[in-house]
């Protein structure tokens, strides 16, 4: 421990530096280290377990689901029974099977929309952090605009015009409204990194700007990017559920959001079928929670002060 007598402020700075850095040369190892740091956080571990379970359920849906997602012809609005653990829908479909199949869409939308928003956020954030002058001001303005414009109303309006587009449309809408936050965070990190001496040193080493951005700056933001991905995925899952609940998605697809839409539509509460309403909502909440919990661990990487442990 060589930093112990460095006074607190610099100690913290250095701790951050060393934390966001540590032993890895390749981005792959960085990811592995991020993963292990995240895993060391108790809350994050719960999140990873829950997310893992959901992903397994989604992958093995064909094996796990007792019936097909749209298979109907069972008793309508039936209560839970041995044949239908969570009852049936008003259309005579098995709720449990829909729940299991539905996980595919929610997870797919969450991951894809999260990934796309993160990619856009990284591209915009990095270039914006690296350019200066008028261009940066313009980007700044646009990003701020997207930040303050209320996302869901914008999504609703866009979705209303682009109706019938299905999952692809939802992903597009979620990405359009979801990239700005990450871009802002990554931009400020890029700015702080680009003023670091090792970036200037890379210029002196004759590196081209492209290589500086992707080999010097980007790998140092791994934890932020990972965090942004989980945040964006959480937002995407909730947004997807909201849009589908309002009937603005593709209602023919079985997902947790459309299950809630049909449940609302056939008044599942009224028919006493509240498992139909409760279960998809709980799954959405658990999935989103799992991502939030994972981000507790990811936060700990970018800000060591947030790591687990009693402080006072």
């Amino acid at each position: 421990m060589s930093t112990q007598s460095i006074p607190p402020s610099t100690r913290a700075v250095r701790a951050i530096e060393e934390a966001s850095i540590a032993p890895a040369p390749s981005p792959l190892k960085v990811v592995l280290r991020v993963a292990s740091t995240v895993w060391s956080n108790g809350k994050a571990r719960i999140g990873i377990v829950i997310l893992g379970l959901f992903i397994l359920v989604a992958i093995f849906a064909p094996l796990l689901a007792p019936y097909g997602a749209r298979q109907n012809g069972f008793d309508r609005s039936a209560d839970a029974s041995a044949a239908h653990w969570l009852g049936t829908t008003a259309a005579g479909e098995d709720v449990l099977s829909q729940l299991i199949w539905g996980s595919q869409i929610s997870i797919f939308v969450g991951l894809v929309a999260g990934l796309l928003s993160t990619v856009i956020a990284v591209l915009v954030g990095l270039s914006w952090g690296y350019v200066r002058g008028f261009g940066a001001d313009v980007i700044n303005f646009i990003v701020n605009l997207f930040l303050v414009i209320p996302g869901l109303p914008l999504m609703i309006v866009i979705a209303a015009y682009l109706s019938g587009g299905g999952i692809g449309m939802i992903i597009v809408v979620v990405v359009i409204t979801g990239w700005a936050w990450g871009a802002r965070v990554l931009r400020s990190q890029t700015q702080s990194l680009r003023s670091r001496d090792f970036v200037t040193a890379a210029v002196f080493s004759g590196e081209r700007p492209f290589r500086i951005v992707f080999r010097e700056i980007l790998p140092n933001m791994t934890s932020l990017i990972v965090g942004n991905f989980f945040g964006a995925a959480t937002a995407a899952i909730l947004a997807e559920a909201g849009l589908e609940y309002l009937g603005l998605g593709d209602t023919t697809v079985v997902s947790w959001g459309t299950m809630l839409f049909w449940a609302q539509n056939s008044n599942a509460l009224l028919t006493g079928q509240w498992a139909l309403l409760f279960a998809p909502g709980l799954c959405i909440a658990l999935l989103a929670t799992s991502l939030t919990l994972i981000n507790f661990g990811v936060d700990g990487i970018s800000n060591p002060r947030l790591r687990e442990g009693k402080q006072r």
């Binding site: 209320p150 996302g151 999504m155 682009l162 909730l238 509460l269 909502g281 989103a288 402080q311």
Partner: protein
């Protein structure tokens, strides 16, 4: 000491940045800068609102006519009459834009396709107060409460005062708004019959500023408010906790402890007071999300606000209404953000420099 004497202290005192201009002048400059930005952002949002429908497939005019035609045969004469009545846009894109800007400035958004002959402005102005009060008040309550809990969690880090609110908060904030609303509606409204299940006030009441009516209004707003509170509280707790944990590690907190200040003073006036600043910015940016969530909440509770109206407009393809509502929501959020900026300026002396 050497031959050249330097007055002790003079070197660094003179090196202090010169303090020019009056504090008030700088404060106004800050407000003016933020107001300028607000206007620019407003313009951009208004323009976006203009461009959006024009980027989308199908013209709003066609959609409007198709909508009206559902009621029965539309003769050519009627068609023309309706076109004129609804103010279906004419002229080239620039003329439309100018006309549109004029409409926005005069708050004349034309006639609602769905609720004809009611004008859009009329519909918006009846709904707006409910949403503003509901969302505004609840958001502020949630922010204040969440911030306080966050302070407590950070200060008592590692104890149950930390773990419980953080875990519960992060779980609750992952609830879809409408789902929380549905659960509350069902259990507290229909099964428990504790609260009314729809409307902003009793069915027979007439809005007035009397104690009775206000009480009734609060009673009716209880469930929607609780929904927004439950789902948004966690975010504020977490945000405050995390920034406060950072400020607790700052030197001025250590120094305040070294000076033997009371723990409460250190926690509130030093650690929390500084942690709240970045959180305030997040507050401004999160407002859009809360307003969005409230749309779903209003839909579930049949609360006669902007959100419910927007939902109606969307399901009925009432484009003028939809656009006006989107604009209203955006403008409200922008203005709220502006106010937050001003508050930030008041709270942070550094912005006045």
């Amino acid at each position: 000491m050497t031959s050249v004497t330097i007055a002790p202290g003079s070197a660094d005192v003179s090196a202090a940045p010169r303090i020019t201009g009056s504090g008030r002048g700088r404060a106004w400059a800050y407000v003016a800068r933020k107001a300028g930005l607000l206007l620019l952002t407003l313009w951009a949002a208004i323009t976006l609102n203009f461009i959006l429908p024009r980027l989308m497939p199908g013209s709003p005019a066609d959609a409007a006519l198709a909508k009206l035609a559902q009621n029965g045969p539309v003769s050519d004469a009627t068609k023309a009459a309706i076109e004129a009545q609804l103010g279906v846009p004419t002229g080239n894109i620039l003329e439309q834009y100018v006309a549109y800007l004029h409409q926005v400035v005069t708050l004349d958004f034309g006639v609602s396709y769905t609720f004809y002959p009611q004008s859009v402005s009329e519909l918006v102005s009846t709904a707006l107060p409910y949403t503003l009060v509901l969302v505004g008040v609840v958001t502020i309550i949630a922010f204040v409460l969440g911030t306080l809990l966050g302070v407590l969690a950070a200060w008592k880090r590692g104890t149950w005062l930390d773990t419980l609110p953080t875990l519960a908060g992060s779980f609750a904030s992952a609830f879809p708004y409408f789902w929380t609303a549905l659960l509350l509606l069902f259990f507290a409204g229909y099964v428990g019959r504790l609260f009314p299940t729809s409307g902003a006030y009793g069915p027979t009441a007439t809005p007035a500023f009397t104690i009775g009516f206000l009480g009734d209004a609060i009673y009716h707003a209880a469930l929607p408010a609780l929904t927004i509170l439950i789902t948004s509280l966690g975010g504020w707790i977490l945000g405050m906790r995390n920034t406060m944990i950072s400020t607790i590690g700052d030197d001025y907190v250590t120094f305040a402890e070294a000076n033997g200040l009371k723990p409460r003073t250190v926690a509130l006036r030093y650690a929390a007071r500084n942690a709240i600043l970045p959180n305030l910015t997040s507050f401004g940016l999160a407002l859009g999300g809360v307003v969005g969530g409230s749309i779903l909440v209003e839909r579930v509770f049949g609360y006669p606000g902007i959100g419910y109206l927007l939902f109606n407009a969307v399901t009925n393809q009432d484009y003028p209404l939809m656009q006006a509502l989107f604009l209203m929501i955006t403008v409200s959020v922008l203005i709220a953000n502006f106010l937050v900026d001003i508050l930030y300026g008041v709270l942070d002396p550094r912005t006045r420099r």
